[in-house]
């Protein structure tokens, strides 16, 4: 139960103290290993939160799209990595050129063809994406050098290699994924050296594998986690955050007790429809750890739980399965910041919501 009765539900609420704690804890961990933080702002899409991360020492930011880059460069961020294998149109190339005039911009690529296409934007700082086991995008590690050479031939400056060890999103795989990441990055870096390019950036990281990446024997120079700032139900179930570290919830109203269950107004248009293979439901309730969302429609979340049901009209805090997708559905965060005397409520814009291209 939280919030005021008058802010209509469902809405996203941030516990600012927990969020600051998450940012500080991971910043300290990375600093203790001499590894830079370049947090992925796709998770929060919020200028104010990126500034908190910068204050905690992050070296720059990571984005997924040109549109996200534009929002953050406009807000004053001057070191931005588009960690995505872009394939640019003429119009997007012009936008990249404009960004590169205002910030240190780096761009991902995973093929010689993409390097050629990127030449539409003129010479760029690029990182070669490699596949460390997630099997999404990225070249096989041994091909990193040849793609780097192609990028150099196309006029770009190759500054390093990057990967996303997304196979860390499975129970008991975080250590394995971090090991795969370390091995793959080392091999890829060697592949670049083999063609005469010394990588200055060796970039990896995901929230589940974060700690393991830092404890692995690795050439990694920077980490790009996103979700660590909030936590979510996936991280809770993977064991990469504790419930009392979860800083983002969707405040929802109990609208029905149909069938002896709880029906909330936080459906998939508020939480996102994510359900990983390892998930135990469509989301969790922060104050009822045993509860599970068993049916999720656009505006209904049906919850099974033990004990007395929360009353009709009462409000509960729902932990989305995947913070990034829940955030991208809303326009603002309600930020709760408590000091000894009072609770301050602020509205922060999700400035880069929907900036998919």
């Amino acid at each position: 139960m939280t919030g005021t009765d008058e802010q209509p539900t469902p809405y996203l609420e941030i516990d600012a103290a927990r969020m600051r704690g998450n940012i500080a804890r991971v910043a300290a961990l990375a600093a203790s290993r001499g590894v830079s933080m370049r947090p992925h702002v796709k998770t929060h899409k919020c200028v104010e939160i990126a500034r908190l991360q910068a204050t905690a020492g992050s070296a720059g930011i990571t984005v997924a799209t040109i549109g996200e880059a534009e929002v953050f460069v406009e807000a004053g961020f001057d070191d931005v990595f588009v960690a995505y294998p872009l394939w640019v149109t003429e119009a997007q190339a012009a936008r990249l050129r404009a960004l590169a005039e205002r910030a240190t911009l780096s761009v991902g690529l995973d093929s010689a063809e993409a390097a050629g296409q990127l030449a539409l934007a003129g010479p760029q700082r690029v990182l070669v994406e490699i596949d460390s086991g997630h099997h999404r995008s990225g070249v096989p590690v041994e091909e990193a050098g040849s793609v780097a050479l192609a990028a150099r031939s196309a006029g770009h400056t190759v500054v390093g290699v990057f990967t996303f060890p997304g196979h860390s999103y499975a129970p008991d795989r975080t250590t394995t994924a971090a090991h795969d990441e370390a091995t793959a990055l080392a091999t890829a870096a060697a592949s670049l050296r083999g063609v005469g390019i010394e990588p200055s950036v060796v970039s990896g990281g995901s929230t589940p594998s974060l700690a393991a990446s830092l404890s692995a024997d690795s050439e990694i120079t920077e980490l790009r986690p996103g979700v660590y700032v909030f936590g979510d139900a996936q991280q809770w179930e993977l064991g990469s955050c504790t419930p009392d570290q979860i800083a983002l919830t969707c405040v929802a109203t109990v609208v029905s007790h149909a069938g002896g269950r709880v029906v909330l107004d936080s459906g998939s248009k508020a939480l996102g429809a994510d359900w990983s293979a390892f998930a135990t439901g469509f989301g969790r309730l922060l104050d009822h750890p045993e509860a599970r969302i068993v049916i999720l429609s656009e505006h209904h979340a049906v919850v099974e739980m033990t004990g007395p049901l929360p009353a009709l009209g009462s409000r509960v805090r729902v932990v989305p399965n995947h913070a990034c997708n829940a955030v991208n559905l809303a326009d603002t965060f309600t930020v709760l910041d408590a000091d000894a005397a009072r609770v301050v409520r602020r509205q922060w814009a999700i400035a880069a919501r929907g900036r998919n291209s």
Copy 2:
């Protein structure tokens, strides 16, 4: 392959001729059975499309939230049903009162307590929601009369009963769901008559069960389908639309051939993360029926397909699993309308995007 190269992907594209065909076909089917159409505009959230549905003879519109109602009443729609068991705050009650002054507004409820809470908004036209087998919200059919009496005691005018036969979203369940719906609505209507309330509205319908609802021996007076206007991969796989009826696609660019597969830039932030139990992937390609999206991240859709891969940089049309959630992620539709002479491209606003409350 479609669109211009310069509109950045991913974006939502409507084939206007197909959409008009879908609207006309279902309108004619309903008219032939003497059943009113009250399409659910949560699917498209677009004033222009609701006007096409009105021109085709729909009696009014269905919405899920007060915020959606506000958008459409502001645009001139004057008969709006909020098909949701609302639990209103004081502020929401004031918004409902304001809407009821400008339009014929009807509201759902599924408990005596909600009827009492709704009295904050003054006397309202209400429909009692019943559970016809989907087991989400709604009262058991035999309790419809007692909830209707409570609503009347709270000052409301009970105009009928409604249900959503959502268990039609399963292979080979459409006929069963329509039968359940007909039986449940008849029993609920009798329950109202048993307490002296004659229902003037007996409302049901879902896109998969639409045809079966109309052929069933039923007291149904109106249908509230949403997705029929576009179709989507779920409807395709359920057999409730054919591929050549699908009017909504997400145009995406092939950004990578990593691992010998196709990586598109239409991730879950463009398509939505929906994956029903019966789905064969995270979405389909309209022009490659054998293709399946096997991995979906926020900005990556990894496609497995046979035959030669679409070239890097080429564009493909992706059919989202669930049109409603894909639409709610975008701000505009690109509408393609062809006549004999040329193709006209228009941008239509998704005016009610994000109006969750």
